[in-house]
């Protein structure tokens, strides 16, 4: 980040990225699904649904990472009070 983001706008920046991510990845999933269904799966509907779901899921995972970059599954970070 070259510019310094004001802290109030921190969240709106994240939301922008997340929403754009969602749109892009779901769209990609949809298109891949349509192509695959048309070419490989004899024009059935379920590959489209699966692929769109995959795209949505990837977008969700990215959103999770954007919003919570330090989250490691199964690890809990605790704030420790300093002891003398």
């Amino acid at each position: 980040m070259s510019d310094k983001i004001v802290s109030e706008d921190l969240l709106s920046h994240k939301w922008d990225r997340v929403i754009s991510n969602f749109v892009v990845k779901t769209g990609l999933g949809l298109s891949v699904g349509i192509v695959a269904s048309a070419l490989l799966f004899k024009k059935r509907t379920w590959p489209i649904a699966i692929s769109t779901g995959w795209g949505f899921g990837v977008a969700y995972a990215d959103a999770q990472r954007i919003f919570h970059p330090y989250h490691v599954p199964g690890v809990e970070f605790k704030k420790e009070k300093p002891t003398v």
Binding site: V6, S7, E8, D9, L10, L11, S12, V18, Y60, A63, Q64, I66, F67, H68, H71, E76, F77
Partner: protein, 541 residues
């Protein structure tokens, strides 16, 4: 009502119209079968029959070899059942035997009881029946007569103790001997001579020894008396000799004294004569000497008088010179004193002028600081955010000479001066946007991910907005309190309140808090400088 009528009409009509063929069809041909028994009863019956068949099969298998073979080969659990039954057959037989044994025992006991009962009955009724059992002997045996006590035999008499009485001069020893003999008599009379024999013999022996010692002592005493008498006699002889000597000495002393007195008188007269002769001689010589001495003294006196006069002359001269010197010195001192006074007055004037210059300098500096300070204040309190770098530079230059002010001014960073501080209006505007964002994130937990954010976004629309000084730790209460303080122009408390947020809301609010802090910092520094400058100007005055 109408429907009923309709229905009955239909039925009747139906029966009439449709005819016997259809009515027969309509009627059921099934005879009402009895209600079949329920499922539980069927199950119970099946269980009972199966158990009976199994038990019978096992029993037959135990007794009949053909059935046994059949059961073991064709029936599923037959072998195990038979083995189990055989195992316990032995214990069953055992139990049977035990039971018969107990039964026989019981019979015996009962027979015994019966016999006993009949016997007692016979006894009670009379000794008629021949079959009586032996009566148990229970009469107590006669006690054996006690042996008569044998009379105690008389003990043979013990030989009596023989003690001779001692004849001595000492009364005590005689007494002791008498006591011992009496004891012996007593014991002899009582017949307990054996008991005291040894002791009395010992006592007797000791008394004899004591007597012997006493005798020895008496002898020694008589010998000592003889010796003392002899000494006495010797002493008397010596005393008489000494008296004789004494008389002889006295006589001789008196004779010598008389001789001496005569001699002394003679000598005295001779000495008197000599003495008077010598006195005359001494007088004459004395007179001569005195004359010579007096002439010498006169001469000396004259000489000394001369010398004294000369010395006095000398003294007077010296004194005169000293006095004149003192006077001169005095005059010089007076002149020097006046010089000193002039000098000190000059010095005082110099000091005054120097302090005056310093005070002027100080007041100039204070004025300078005040001017710089007011320029910075104007800049800071303007309507918009303005950078105040040059003004700040001027202020720090003006305050460079004072250590505390320099230290205080250093706490504001260069960036702040370059960017300026947020005005109150700006803070308030920014607060609104910040509060809106914070409200959206209010319900996100510490480790919440994307889902938590979405939920918080939706649920925060349902939260009530609070206003004024409300108690509580939640985000709404904190926001309400800080906005209240901000309206009252109390930026410090607003920032403090917002600092209490935690997690995501804090992360969003942190820049606003920072801006408010800078604002407060600069205000505080300016306040400090202002008070300092004012107090120093009062000092100068």
């Amino acid at each position: 009502m109408a429907s009923k009528l309709y229905q009955t009409t239909v039925k009747n009509v139906g029966q009439q119209r449709i005819g016997s063929f259809v009515s027969k069809r309509l009627q059921s041909t099934n005879t009402s079968a009895p209600k079949s028994s329920s499922f539980g009863k069927k199950l119970l019956a099946t269980t009972v029959v199966t158990a009976a068949v199994a038990g019978g099969g096992v029993y037959l298998a135990l007794n009949d070899p053909n059935v046994h073979d059949f059961v073991t080969t064709h029936v599923q659990g037959g072998e195990e059942a038979l083995a189990f039954v055989k195992e316990h057959q032995d214990s069953l037989n055992e139990a049977h035997k035990q039971a018969t044994h107990y039964l026989s025992l019981a019979k015996d006991h009962s027979g015994m009881a019966v016999d006993y009962a009949t016997a007692t009955y016979a006894k009670l009724t009379g000794d008629n029946t021949p079959s009586t059992p032996n009566p148990p002997s229970s009469s107590p045996a006669a006690a054996s007569p006690a042996e008569p006590k044998q009379p105690e035999q008389q003990k043979p008499l013990a030989p009596p103790i023989v003690v001779q009485q001692l004849a001595t001069n000492n009364a005590a020893i005689q007494e002791l001997s008498r006591v011992v003999s009496e004891l012996a008599d007593i014991l002899n009379d009582a017949g307990l001579a054996d008991a005291g024999r040894d002791i009395l013999a010992k006592a007797d022996g000791e008394i004899r020894a004591l007597n012997a010692r006493w005798q020895a002592h008496i002898q020694e005493q008589s010998e000592i008396l003889k010796a003392v008498k002899q000494i006495d006699q010797h002493g008397a002889a010596l005393a008489s000799g000494v008296d004789q000597l004494h008389g002889k000495a006295h006589i001789s002393i008196q004779s010598t004294r008389a001789n001496m007195v005569d001699k002394i008188q003679h000598k005295e007269s001779i000495m008197h004569q000599d003495h008077s002769n010598e006195q005359l001689l001494l007088k004459e010589s004395f007179q001569q000497i005195m004359a010579a001495e007096s002439s010498k003294l006169q001469q000396q006196l004259a000489y000394e008088q001369q010398q004294a006069l000369l010395a006095q002359a000398e003294n007077l001269k010296r004194q005169f010179m000293q006095d004149s010197k003192v006077l001169i010195e005095h005059e010089r001192a007076v002149r020097l004193q006046t010089l000193d006074k002039v000098y000190t007055r000059y010095k005082a004037l110099e000091d005054v002028s120097v302090t005056q210059a310093a005070a002027l300098d100080q007041s100039r500096r204070t004025h300078e600081r005040f001017v710089a300070l007011s320029s910075v204040q104007d800049c800071v309190q303007s309507r918009q955010r303005q950078p105040f770098r040059e003004e700040w530079q001027a202020l720090s230059n003006a305050c460079a000479s004072d250590a505390t002010l320099k230290h205080v001014l250093q706490s504001v960073t260069r960036d702040t001066t370059e960017q300026g501080i947020a005005t109150h209006k700006e803070l308030a505007d920014r607060y609104d946007t910040m509060a809106q964002q914070v409200r959206r994130v209010a319900l996100v937990p510490e480790d919440g991910g994307f889902g938590a954010h979405i939920i918080s976004l939706i649920m925060s629309k349902l939260l009530f907005k609070k206003q004024g000084l409300v108690d509580g730790d939640d985000v709404e209460a904190v926001l309400a309190r800080s906005s209240y303080y901000l309206e009252k122009y109390d930026v410090e408390n607003a920032a403090r309140e917002l600092n209490q947020l935690q997690g995501w809301p804090k992360r969003l609010a942190i820049d606003w808090i920072q801006a408010a802090r800078e604002h407060l910092e600069v205000q505080q520094v300016l306040e400090i400088v202002e008070t300092y400058v004012l107090s120093s100007s009062l000092n100068d005055a």
